[in-house]
């Protein structure tokens, strides 16, 4: 007898087990998202857009209408949907490269316009799908395929503080938070608040999720977890950064 583990109702059972690497954080983020969708009872209304990179593997993840876009272009596709169909709950799902590098102008301007969409960005400090190159979020000194001697902050700068950047641009009504797969309950709460913010029509909502990439980090389970829990929060502070009716810190 096979035992199917508990899955969010909005997940699509036929496409499970999912295609992410063992130990990848995407599954946890998508679980938090699935449960948030269930609890808000919005499955019917969700339009889910996913970026290119590891996040593209989520294209058939949910029992929700979903579209794969191009690298960095999920924010505009989902914006286009929301502008044409304001009655839908539109989610843009992307990685740190898609959101902070190639698609940064879209993220910044969607925030500036207070687009009524929810962007969820998975931060794992590197470009995963392409084989572990340096990303905007790579930590100082961290070795990647394109920073083999470690990220040199003198020539390559410091990690992008995405939510802080979005919060600085977004207007009143926006919701901005950073969660982590090391605290899934909190992450789910943030994602749920972000979706609720869209439902309420307040403004742009954005959640970054700190996540792990054992494949490209070349770390075992213990080292992966230590990195997420101890190293990443040194640069990426977990918490709500901007909530409607409450000024950012």
């Amino acid at each position: 007898m096979s035992v199917v583990p508990n899955m969010p109702k909005s997940w699509r059972e036929e496409t499970k087990p999912h295609k992410f690497c063992p130990g990848c954080g995407h599954g946890l983020v998508l679980k938090a998202l699935g449960e948030a969708i269930d609890e808000l009872a919005i499955q019917e209304k969700v339009v889910f857009g996913c970026d290119i990179g590891c996040s593209l593997l989520s294209w058939d993840f949910f029992n929700c209408d979903s579209v794969q876009t191009h690298h960095g272009r999920t924010t505009p596709v989902v914006t286009g949907v929301k502008r044409a169909r304001p009655d839908r709950i539109c989610i843009a799902y992307m990685g740190d490269g898609g959101g902070y590098a190639i698609g940064a102008q879209h993220l910044v301007n969607a925030a500036a316009r207070n687009e009524r969409i929810t962007a969820i960005l998975v931060n794992n400090c590197n470009y995963g799908m392409t084989g572990g190159q340096m990303a905007p979020t790579t930590l100082p000194g961290m070795k990647t395929q394109t920073s083999p001697y470690g990220r040199d902050t003198d020539s390559m700068g410091y990690p992008t503080q995405g939510p802080e950047m979005v919060a600085a641009i977004a207007r009143e009504g926006a919701y901005v938070a950073r969660g982590t797969v090391a605290n899934v309950r909190q992450l789910k709460r943030y994602i749920k608040s972000a979706l609720q913010n869209q439902i309420d029509g307040n403004g742009f909502s954005f959640v970054e999720a700190l996540s792990g990439c054992p494949t490209n980090w070349s770390t075992n389970a213990q080292k992966t977890w230590e990195f997420i829990e101890k190293e990443m929060p040194q640069y990426f502070k977990v918490g709500e950064i901007k909530t409607p009716g409450k000024k950012g810190e």
Binding site: S10, R12, Q43, E44, K45, V47, G49, I52, L56, W59, D60, F62, N63, C64, D65, S66, V67, Q68, T69, H70, R73, T75, P76, V77, V78, T79, G80, V81, K82, R83, A84, R85, D87, R88, Q105, H106, V108, N109
Partner: protein
Amino acid sequence: MLEKPIGGEKRVFMTGNEVVAWAALAAEADIMYGYPITPQNEVMHYWTRLAPKYGRSFLQTEDEISAGFTTCGGVLSGKRAFTATAGPGNILMQESMTMAEMMRIPTVLVVQQRGGPSTATVIYSQQEVTMTCFGGNGEGLRIVYSTCSHQELYDYTIKAFNVAWKYRFPVFVLGDGYQAKMRESLKMYDPATKGIKMVETQPSLGLAGVPGVDREPSHLRNTYNTEEELCEVVTNLVKEYNKVVPEVVEYETFETEVAEIVLLGHGIVTRAAQAAVKTLREQGIKVGHFRPITIHPFAADELRAICKHAKKLIVIESAQGQFERIVKEAIYGESVPMESYFKPGQGVTGEEIVEYVKKGL
């Protein structure tokens, strides 16, 4: 809220950009996404003034990449969405247009060609032919109308929406800066009075019912895992496209039946070519003119038929051989001699064509 932008038929005198905005309104376009670039700006200027009166929407995006992709999003939502651009903006929109080709997203893009390469001029050219027809990492599965007048800008903007939604390939209206900025008279009309029914739109996302319960979810992809899988997908796309070709291909001929010299030109250059044919015929010189309206796909068979009796072809364009390449591919193997008259980024007059033809006699 006003209902119909144009009742019956109306003679007007306006710029081409204004014409495009009115045509999109008449075609029941729901939303325009756009980013400023000369010489298409006034499409947005008129649209933003007119659209709210008819319950239509507009979004000014952060760049043309976004304008193209938001247009894809609007179309996927089941709305008649369109955008307009030129030059460097056209380059940036190619990315989203390849997504439209791959995923059969019926986008409409109006291109008002400006000079190139690079920033070049904001005025005029026919240098966006290759890019508009083939500008992606794919097979050019799109339909491109090269218009020559304000009347055609009106007619083919309306048609672009219908052809896009009927066949689900991205459709381009290829104008230019002259057409965009000049004023000219034309007849605007309510498509219904001409028996034109707007093709119904269908959403691909945001369908009714609970996915996985009432219906299957709509899962749209453009990424494939294996060479075999992709080859099959693209082969089928090409097959579908080739089926559409005979239904959409359009061209015009002027006195080509007994012509010894045939002038080939598209877009606004056709008007100079038509004028030259008239003058030269009056002087007893047997000249004709062939003009593709769909520059892609191209009326290759029809041009081949002309090649059988013509003694010389002259390709005339405001670019350095972009149109000529399309012609050469279309008539590959024909033995008729071919000459070219290229003026990249500059207009062509009937007089200079007459002069060129007579010099070669």
